[in-house]
Amino acid sequence: MADNELIWRIAGGSGDGIDSTSQNFAKALMRSGLNVFTHRHYPSRIRGGHTYVEIRASDEVVDSRGDGYNFLLALGDSFARNPKENAYYGNEEIKPLSENLDDLREGGIIIYDSGLLDASEIPDFEERAEENDWHVFGIDLRSMAREHGREVMRNTAGVGVTAALLEMDLDEIENLMENAMPEKILEPNLTILHDAYDMINEEYEFEHDLRIPTGEHDEDQVLISGSNGVAYGALDEGCRFIAGYPMTPWTDVFTIMSQHLPKFGGISEQVEDEIAAAALALGASHAGVKAMSGSSGGGFALMSEPLGLAEMSETPIVLVEAMRAGPSTGLPTKPEQGDLEHILYTSQGDSCRVVFAPGTPQEAYEQTRTAFQMAYDYQIPAIVVIDQKLSGENQNVPASAFDREPNPSLGPTLTEAELEDAPHDPSGKFKRFSHDDPEDDGVRPRSLPGQKGGRFLVTGNEHNESGHIEEDPDNRITQMDLRMKKLESIREHLDSDPESSNQTYFGPDEAEYGIVTWGSSQGAVREAVERLNDQGHSVKAIGVSDLMPFAEKEVTEFLESVDEALVVEMNATAQFRGLTQRELGQFGEKLTSLLKYDGNPFEPAEIVEGFEIQIAGGTDAPSANTRLEPAVSD
């Protein structure tokens, strides 16, 4: 836990402006020189339902939501939209105050809207506040908002109160509001902001221990989500075609791309279903454009067949799989890492694809670029796996960390001049799937429809050199081996530059124990490792991104160097541990799983606890929200 951190939670109903308010506030904190991480929790409902956003800000690195929080701004809900309704409780399930108390830390601050509710009516509230030393401020945000604007502007009043209590400057907040709000609503909002701020300073005596650190504003910092990372990575890499069908949380990437592609001279297509979406990406790529598609679990299931077609026809495409909790439609707005095996193996035949699972927004950017490079250089589908957590979380990263050099290369593609010398069959077809492999890497350069001398047939059936259906056993073996060879070459390619490895390491180089994780659980693991070492344990961790071809060398080295390791992932069947054991053919006895699948991401404390239980002998039960799965030999 960072010593000096603010974790501000704004809670209320969907429609309370929680998203926009928190975005602005998070940016204001970043601009005041802090590291920022946001976590969004919302139910699968359009209106109503309890939602919150947490903003964690610290002068130290923050890349997880942290444990609990220390500042609650509890807004009301439907009351604002229905002035005739007088009682807030009783006919609404959303209790922005009482529902949020469980994770509020000792000494924490609460602001609630006394215009909407009377805290003394909440059972046990006063006792709990006293016990936990909470500083409670009932403030009539509603009247404040009504006086100068509209009732929905209560969120702005809440921000004003927050700023006053934390002794923050209003400059950054004002600035951001000016950028984000249309003229008409800006004025009343600014008035409300100031009124709230002044009122607290003038009328309230307040004393609390919460101090947020201050830092130097670093102009280079940007606050972005994993979805931004994927989309911007794709755009910088030269992706100019996307086809998709909405499904949470993939919709974020799809939306960002759709908004920007036309400006970038590209095309975005919202189509009839996910089968079509993936097939469109294939068609565009076949014709010579860098293309992508994607979905979440259910939609990705529909892409299974076009995905196989991309493998067999050696058509480069990038697919995004933004996981949410399953099976089936599962928990539509909650994260899980449960689609791993689905992603690795879906579609008929032997899997021949590349799969990366970035762990942070910055990695999402970098690995999306790498995914495009692998896809086009090796004529293979590449899948970028993110999840509801990574896609919606915002984190500050230095903009200069992004290498924005555009890459228009389509991979090995012949020019018309080169095609003249290329091998052709007797009817004049280009041997695009030639048995000769010029680079010995499994890749045969392609031609594009429209090129002279490049005519070939491509099919999802097994085929001969010019692409005709062919069932001859020798040809089959040659073609199959060449396709599979690409995975080996990609592994060598990725291993050739340890500097740009996709795996991320935390903790000391030498340690007794290890933690292994993948994808978006990485941030919480990093923090847990820090705490464990602070507490005297000897632990290091690896966050694995290369799932296919698997980061065999790096994970083997890591596991050989530790006595035992905890595998942390958000699913119920230890899919990543299974993959690791299968890929490496060993370590079954060294690995224990810490699993979580309740719809919420790991908190660092849960990992610390899981680790301690395991090290202490693996007998106690971990917290109610996680589950330990012992090593095979146990």
Partner: protein
Amino acid sequence: MSAFNAIGEEREIDRDEFTPGIEPQPTWCPGCGDFGVLKALKQALPEVGRTPEETLLVTGIGCSGKLNSYLDSYGFHTIHGRSLPVARAAKLANPGLEVIAAGGDGDGYGIGGNHFMHTARENHDMTYIVFNNEIFGLTKGQTSPTSPKGHKSKTQPSGSAKDPIRPLSLSLTSGASYIARTAAVNPNQAKGILKEAMEHDGFAHVDFLTQCPTWNKDAKQYVPYIDVQESDDYDFDVHDRGEAQDMMYETENVLKEGTVLTGRFYVDEDRPSYQQEKQAIGEMPEEPLAERYFDDDYEWERSYDLLDRHR
């Protein structure tokens, strides 16, 4: 641009240019209607003026899906029902290509029915040929969406309880801007219709009646074929939606009874193609996207401005 010199090339196209000099020989059964489609296409294509290199023939899975194996052009033999989405994206990516999609009635009206509806609705500038043999050929004779009600097969032993799909009416309702029906036994008409379809700016749907002597002996009942444009009994305006609708209704009913009407049923030259619509709203580049990657002078946009908004 160096990569696609073939596109837009003005030259006399040889009559046999789309005919492969050698194997593979078609593996279709003797007497199969698919030969007729291949022949008509080989004859129509040179007259359209596109070179084999500029032509991309995308097929689905079925006996019909093998069409591009026997035609010299670029070809993408995709998966069952999915030729349309692949084809329309290829056209969006490189509008210089002559894009044709083809497949069976199971492929196009069954498993790919959704794509058919939406491609027609969007009016993509391409041609779609459906080999309508009223049966699943490749999987050995099961009832297809166009098989008549009562049709018996191994999977429908008591006869189908379903009315067949009405492909022409469906196409019209969905928004296709050129709709015709022809038949493998009418090679001249077929050739003319295919040529028109390819020259049409918009989604041209050709329901191509093909016989499957192996699994659908009833195919014989397809005679006599009447050309609605040639016969005085069928005077209607192909540009009029309502009249077209009535004619379609008629032919889709009489098909069951043994007389088959063929010809053009609907032609709408005014409806802008999808590409034009997309261009009008600024979501489709003027020059072919695919050429960008070969244009050394092209300025690639980067995410700078986008990132700035997150500062």
